[in-house]
Symmetry: C2
Subunit: 237 residues, 2 copies
């Protein structure tokens, strides 16, 4: 039996902590550069592998950016960089089982329902203008399927933006990109663009009228329609 509790920390973990501390404490601000690997190994009194492993880990977290030939730069952490960090693993998770995909679709429905309701409650006239602009931009992309889908995603993100919370924006963006990668929901064929645009327009109208219930209902109809096109899958909740 191994001692699961007594984990011997690797050397690179210590280095990781020290570097992370230098960054989070502000000693090295956003955009500034870290010392070179060779300098760090001398300062910390460790070998180069320890430094490199720690810095790779920091790069994987999105805290720093490493480029060949340049010194590592400190990057800003945002909600978006957080979801980007998890992007690959999320794809793998979705590929692992179709059940996971169903769960994500359900999560998205949950998210969009609440989001549009919140938007209806607190949308300002400027928000409405932006939504209508996004809708018009999407209409201009009819015929260009990839651009139309991009505009579609932008519309939904615009709704989350009304909340003023970047976490919601990042979550919306991530969910949509994951679903898109699996060619499900949110997929638009030629011929269906008008339906999509009409539904979006109604959602905007409900938001503009501060009709939370109506906006939520319109959003649910919108999401269910695209889901139904892939066969009637009885989704819970």
């Amino acid at each position: 039996m191994t001692n699961d509790h007594i984990v011997r920390r690797k050397l690179s973990d210590e280095v990781f902590d020290r570097l992370a501390g230098m960054i989070t404490s502000g000693e090295i601000g956003t955009g500034e550069t870290l010392p070179s690997e060779r300098v760090l190994m001398e300062r910390f009194g460790v070998g180069r592998p320890a430094i490199r492993e720690a810095m790779q880990a920091l790069a994987n977290l999105g805290l720093i950016q490493i480029s060949h030939g340049e010194r590592a730069k400190v990057r800003e952490i945002t909600a978006r960089s957080l979801v980007r960090q998890v992007d690959l693993a999320a794809q793998l998770l979705l590929n692992a089982s179709p059940t996971n995909l169903d769960h994500l679709k359900q999560a998205r429905r949950f998210f969009e329902r609440g989001m549009v309701r919140s938007a209806a409650e607190q949308a300002t006239p400027e928000d409405i203008v932006q939504l209508r602009d996004a809708l018009a931009a999407q209409r201009r992309e009819i015929g260009n399927v990839p651009a139309f889908i991009r505009a579609d995603m932008l519309f939904h993100r615009q709704i989350t933006r009304i909340s003023g919370n970047p976490i919601f924006e990042a979550v919306s963006e991530a969910m949509l990109s994951w679903l898109q990668a699996h060619r499900t929901d949110l997929l638009i064929w030629p011929g269906n663009e008008e339906v999509t645009l009409r539904e979006h327009a109604e959602i905007i109208d409900r938001i503009a009228a501060h009709d939370a219930e109506g906006a939520e209902a319109a959003m649910v109809r919108h999401l269910d329609r695209s889901a139904d096109l892939y066969g009637p899958r009885p989704t819970a909740g």
Copy 2:
């Protein structure tokens, strides 16, 4: 001007892809072991650093587990392992600015509101029994602050569990642990346990009655109370 598009992929990235492919394709199933580093470097015709960097990255993603002396084991990807992956970065993000903390609190309110509404709509009698059990378990922990908080978190997670969606469970668990680390919301002092328990009880009653509106209102009151205790902070939405 650097060519942002023409990024020269690192060798370890290629190795990473091949290893990730071996895992996701099922060639190496969950629980099985990867070949040793020395075997892999020979098979792929690369040096040990390339293998190590790739495997460290896989470990950071939570795809494999590396232990000194043993061969790397493939781990199952779950929604929970996904959030664990961003756990550290999330902490840093929250520490970076109090605004981020507000955003997270808002996200949690959003999440719990919708979740309890969904729970009220689809809760089965067994779900209600489990909720009441969780409440009783929490009552038994009065006097033991850490255990009481743990039980509190478990109660909220229990609500998400009704959805049957592991993503919701993982999100709930993550949000609560992040907020707890910042000693905000959800924090209970001695003397307030009874209030918390009473509010939880009412939430359960509303869920049992399939009263979505009432359950949501009760949950909002519950969350706002603990928030107010930290000073009246006008949160949007």
